[in-house]
């Protein structure tokens, strides 16, 4: 019953976006994390994942009018675009075909775990969240973060440890 309601709601959103491209924003919000996670697990760097995610949504927006509802969730259509974008990307960079994941239909628990982790980071304390973002997202060193926050390197390392432990604990509870 819940799935049926979700499908109905998504279908209405798609029709609205087809009539008015600005309404695509709601579909974007709903599906961004999954598309990004799908791509981020298949390319070696965040920068490539972001570029490809942008490409996927640009293509989706450009061709939303051609979308035909066939019962599958909208994210499947986006994964299809992402798979094509990935294939083009690998072809462009000359990556060996043997290294490419072949099962693009598989979204897997890894994607959901990544999405959940992103949401959990927002639930951390301000200091812990700042350290996690600077350290893992911005790829800054402990020293740089310590200078930015005006704290010792040891304190930053402690914050990093506690944040990771807290995230592990929350992920364990969720999964």
């Amino acid at each position: 019953m819940e799935i049926l309601e979700r499908d109905c709601s998504e279908r209405l959103l798609i029709e609205a976006a087809q009539n008015e491209p600005a309404r695509f924003a709601e579909l974007y919000e709903q599906n961004f994390d999954r598309v990004y996670a799908f791509l981020a697990r298949r390319v070696p760097s965040r920068e490539e994942a972001q570029d490809l995610t942008a490409e996927v949504f640009h293509q989706a927006l450009a061709s939303i009018r051609n979308f035909k509802w066939q019962g599958a969730p909208f994210i499947s259509w986006l994964y299809g675009i992402a798979a094509n974008v990935l294939a083009s990307h690998w072809q462009k960079v000359g990556k060996c075909a043997l290294e490419q994941p072949t099962d693009f239909s598989y979204a897997g628990d890894g994607i959901e775990r990544s999405i959940m982790l992103g949401q959990l980071v927002r639930s951390l304390s301000q200091d812990q969240r700042l350290v996690v973002v600077r350290r893992f997202v911005d790829q800054k060193s402990i020293r740089e973060i310590a200078q930015e926050l005006g704290r010792s390197e040891g304190a930053i390392k402690q914050l990093q440890l506690r944040a990771l432990e807290k995230l592990r604990e929350k992920v364990g509870k969720k999964l």
Partner: protein, 353 residues
Amino acid sequence: MNRELLPEELDLQIEELMGARPGLLSGPNPLLGIAAELCLLPSEDFKHRLKADLFEPAEAIETKERKSINGSREFQPATLDAMASLTPKEFSIMPADPRSFLLSFASHAAVVVLIASGIWVGGHHTIVQPRTLSSELSYVPMPVGDNPPRGGGSGGDRSTIPASRGTPPKFSEEQLTPPAIIVRNPSPKLPVDATVLGPPQLKLPQSNQIGDILSSNAVIPSNGAGARGGFGDNSGTGAGNGLGAGAGAGRNGGCCTGVFRPGLGVSAPRAIYDPDPEYSDEARKAKYQGRVVLSIIVDPSGRPKNIYVARSLGMGLDEKAIEAVQKWKFSPGMKDGYPVAVQVNVEVNFRLY
């Protein structure tokens, strides 16, 4: 593990993790797995920037370059691969025949040259019209000519019959044999063509019959009532009704040496070769137009002489007009059947189109 040492060891392991591909890392420490997942998270504002980028006005979406959402890497701007070129690199992407380029280039160049030359010709062509030789259209009205003829000749053998009609013989600087319609000595020891005294370059209408061009006697051969050889009604060795060895109504040789003006039996000369004058650079640059009036004398041989400017235009156009008129050839003005020098005004119009 010592609680004090754990953060240090974990950070070292995280440093190693960041040097490798985060998504492929796994190990006994579950915290490293979390760290590896965190390394895959997008930049904090990436989602918002992408959203803003996506929902710009639709027109902009189609044409804008796909700018990078992150700062370090950028999408390549649209290349011009679709535009054919002569470079070998482009051949592999979009085949293009170099002959097409050469043909296209040549045809475009030809069109440009044609257009440019058309502009030049249209802008600088010298138009001289109309050239007027008659006094009626002259800028300076000229009085009707009344000069007495100063050349001429006559002769005869005192016949009662007027000299026969015909044309005078050729002119020469020295007359050895006077002209005669009735030749009294048909077998001279030293035959010399009969001539009349006058400049050799002076050409008069010629016919098979020597005679007086104004005579009413077209039937009976006669040398006329004059005396001393030649033919005509006066004295001399020439031809006509003048005096002397020349031809025509004047005297003392030559022909038609008076300068006449059109009218009263004097016809105006007519230009038979009249190349256009050039435009002076100065006048062309200044887009200067106007009319030059030249006063000329067309001599009996049809050549212009004594050219002077009756009405000046300036900017070098006077000189250009004179330069051109000097090359002109005329059919001379006529009086009593003989070509005479006639003074006329020539009007030369300069127009830029």
